[in-house]
């Protein structure tokens, strides 16, 4: 059953990701991006990590596409121009090269998924990974202040 679920989730993830990077309609692209991230949250659930799935659901699947929709509306860019022909070639080439490189890194072998409880993950986050945690919060604060300063309309 988990294999069926994996294949279904993976197939839809790839389809929606492809749609997100190829469609000319930006609103549709943002929406299919959101769907992609939802499906990735489902994959995290399959990996036995509900905390990660919830964070993915909350940040990547909800907040970020809404921000994207906002910026699409604010910059009035409802459509993206078709890519130039050399861009398509370069894109395919880069994707193929990346896949070939990545293929060599794929490890095979049996293994069972170990479920991760949110409590354990949180405890770990605040003990072993305390310094990165603090750095990440400072990064978020900096990003917030920076975004406000950058986006503010200057007088005159």
């Amino acid at each position: 059953m988990s294999l069926t679920a994996f294949y279904a989730l993976a197939a839809f993830t790839l389809v929606f990701a492809l749609f997100a990077v190829t469609t000319a309609n930006m609103v549709r692209a943002a929406f299919s991006l959101a769907v992609t991230f939802f499906l990735i949250a489902g994959l995290y659930l399959l990996l036995g990590s509900p905390a990660l799935a919830a964070v993915q659901f909350m940040v990547n699947a909800s907040a970020i596409p809404i921000m994207t929709l906002f910026i699409i509306m604010m910059t009035q860019s409802r459509r993206s121009a078709a890519p130039r022909s050399w861009q398509v070639g370069v894109g395919f080439l880069a994707a193929a090269v990346a896949l070939v490189f990545f293929r060599s890194a794929v490890v095979h072998g049996e293994g069972r998924v170990a479920p991760v409880s949110p409590e354990a993950l949180g405890t770990n986050l605040l003990q072993a990974a305390l310094l990165p945690f603090e750095v990440a919060s400072v990064l978020l604060l900096l990003a917030m202040v920076g975004a406000i300063v950058l986006a503010r309309r200057r007088a005159g």
């Binding site: 990996l47 907040a63 049996e110 998924v113």
Partner: protein
């Protein structure tokens, strides 16, 4: 049975799709969206590797969390810059910004 290889292959394909998007998209917002797909592929790879190989240290899960944080920060800054680009150039497509061209 789902193996680590399945997840890693999926992550690789997602990364390829994201890379294709970054290179072919001409609207800068769409480029940032493709970057998001790239980052999510990386997070998925980390999380799956951790779930199969490292069930007690959570390093992979923590790393995936940090990737999500970094993605959010990157995107907010990126959108703020794009807003400035829109104010100065009137569009956010890649050919709108041509001053630096030699």
């Amino acid at each position: 049975m789902v193996t680590l290889g399945h997840f890693l292959l999926l992550a690789g394909l997602l990364m390829a799709i994201g890379l294709y998007g970054v290179l072919t998209r001409r609207n800068l917002i769409a480029v940032l969206m493709s970057v998001e797909i790239l980052l999510n592929a990386a997070a998925l790879a980390f999380a799956s590797a951790a779930a199969f190989r490292d069930p007690h240290l959570f390093a992979g899960q923590v790393f995936a969390l940090f990737i999500i944080v970094v993605a959010a920060a990157e995107l907010s800054i990126g959108f703020a810059i794009l807003l400035n680009v829109y104010r100065t150039h009137g569009a956010v497509s890649d050919d709108a910004i041509g001053e630096m061209r030699g």
